[in-house]
């Protein structure tokens, strides 16, 4: 009697195993082959550029939209080049000296290092006000638009600089200056 029961249990177990294996194999066959999902297109990002007001008492924001890029550095370069081009709005004043080019840009540990051509210093108009507006239009634009950037250290021709026009201390990275932003 015992042997008969054991046979039934063994038979039942084998049958269950076969059914289970069949189901698994069948499921695998029915599963659709993997297709890479289409790249999720992020919505455009709003960027605020900081240009000087006509009296150069502070900055007036000018905004525009950019298509998102895979690489943060490419996005920041695009924004900086737009800042170099100057304002589109009437009455606002450019902050970057004429003929300045962005040579390169590095980002590391929350600090952005834009590297400008020598015209950044050679063509600068001088003066404390002029220097402060040039520096903080860059620092504010980068640090207030990109959460990955906290501070900005300016480079010219690949090297760190002490100052642009002999007033501001540019030997260390700078944080944004919110006092200069006008509410106009």
């Amino acid at each position: 009697m015992k042997v008969k029961a054991l046979r039934w249990i063994l038979f039942g177990s084998i049958l269950m195993g076969v059914i289970f294996a069949f189901i698994i194999i069948h499921q695998k066959e029915e599963r659709p082959s993997y297709i890479a999902p289409p790249p999720s297109k992020e919505p455009p990002k709003k960027i605020v550029l900081y240009f000087s007001c006509p009296e150069m008492e502070g900055f007036v924001p000018e905004s525009f939209w950019i298509e998102r890029k895979q690489d943060l550095v490419d996005e920041v370069k695009l924004v900086l080049n737009r800042l170099i081009e100057g304002p589109k709005g009437n009455g606002l004043v450019a902050t970057i000296p004429p003929k300045t080019r962005l040579r390169e840009l590095y980002i590391s540990k929350g600090i952005a290092y834009p590297d400008f051509s020598r015209e950044f210093i050679e063509n600068h108009w001088g003066g404390t006000t002029g220097e402060i507006h040039t520096v903080y239009s860059i620092v504010n634009t980068l640090a207030l638009n990109f959460e990955e950037i906290e501070k900005v250290q300016l480079l010219v021709e690949g090297r760190g600089i002490e100052t642009i026009a002999g007033h501001l201390d540019l030997r260390r990275p700078l944080s944004p200056n919110l006092r200069l932003i006008s509410t106009r």
């Binding site: 004043v93 600068h124 108009w125 006000t129 002029g130 026009a165 501001l168 201390d169």
Partner: protein
């Protein structure tokens, strides 16, 4: 004729200042010989910005910042020492040559200056900007800079548009051991202000205003 009369008036003013200043000094010495030790007891360091290869800003009419501020600094030294025998003025440079900023600061610190005043002219990308600005680095560390700046504002306001007193992280002011400010005396990039900055009489008026501010500060804090 107007210019001539203004020039002769300014010359008379200068002579009066010298006569009055030194007259008082001699009188004090006659009455109390110990007053001799009071002479030149306040050292004021005047720093004409830039110099040499560092020309600073440049106007459309050819004016160069380092020359303009040196000329004003020399007049200010002359005026201050003439107005008060208690004041001794030292310039961080007295000709057109380059002086590193750290040397200017150590010069003021090593001479145990009572006040430090850096002279500059402002600049901007558009020519309509005008007026003067007073800048300081840190009121807490240097205690008195802001008050000194207020006196400068009150005096310069009589001849130039006041763009206010501002604070920023300057390359040099932070290491000063005494109250110190930087004054931007008008925009050299504004053709009208550049013309005024070329004028000797206008420079004398600026020197007079700045010397009044320094003497007022000494009177209050000295």
């Amino acid at each position: 004729l107007d210019v001539l009369s203004l020039k002769s008036e300014s010359f008379t003013q200068k002579m009066n200042l010298i006569t009055r200043g030194w007259g008082i000094a001699i009188l004090i010495l006659l009455l109390q010989p110990s007053a001799l030790c009071l002479m030149g007891r306040y050292t004021i360091v005047i720093d004409p910005g830039h110099g040499g290869e560092d020309k600073g800003g440049e106007g459309q009419g050819g004016s160069i910042e380092n020359e303009v501020v040196l000329s004003i600094a020399k007049r200010l030294k002359y005026e201050l020492e003439a107005r008060s025998p208690e004041v001794k003025v030292l310039l961080t440079r007295n000709k057109d040559h380059f002086v590193p900023i750290r040397d200017r600061i150590s010069f003021a610190n090593s001479n145990d200056a009572f006040l430090f005043l850096s002279l500059h002219t402002n600049g901007g990308p558009i020519s309509s900007l005008k007026g003067f600005e007073v800048w300081y680095y840190n009121e807490g560390r240097m205690g008195g800079s802001r008050r000194f700046g207020e006196f400068i504002q009150e005096e310069l306001r009589k001849i130039l548009v006041d763009r206010g007193m501002k604070q920023e992280r300057f390359l040099f002011l932070k290491k000063l051991k005494m109250p110190g400010v930087l004054v931007e005396i008008g925009f050299i990039t504004n053709p009208l202000e550049e013309l005024r900055l070329k004028d000797k009489i206008f420079k004398e008026r600026i020197a007079h205003a700045l010397s009044s501010a320094i003497l007022r500060y000494i009177e209050e804090k000295g």
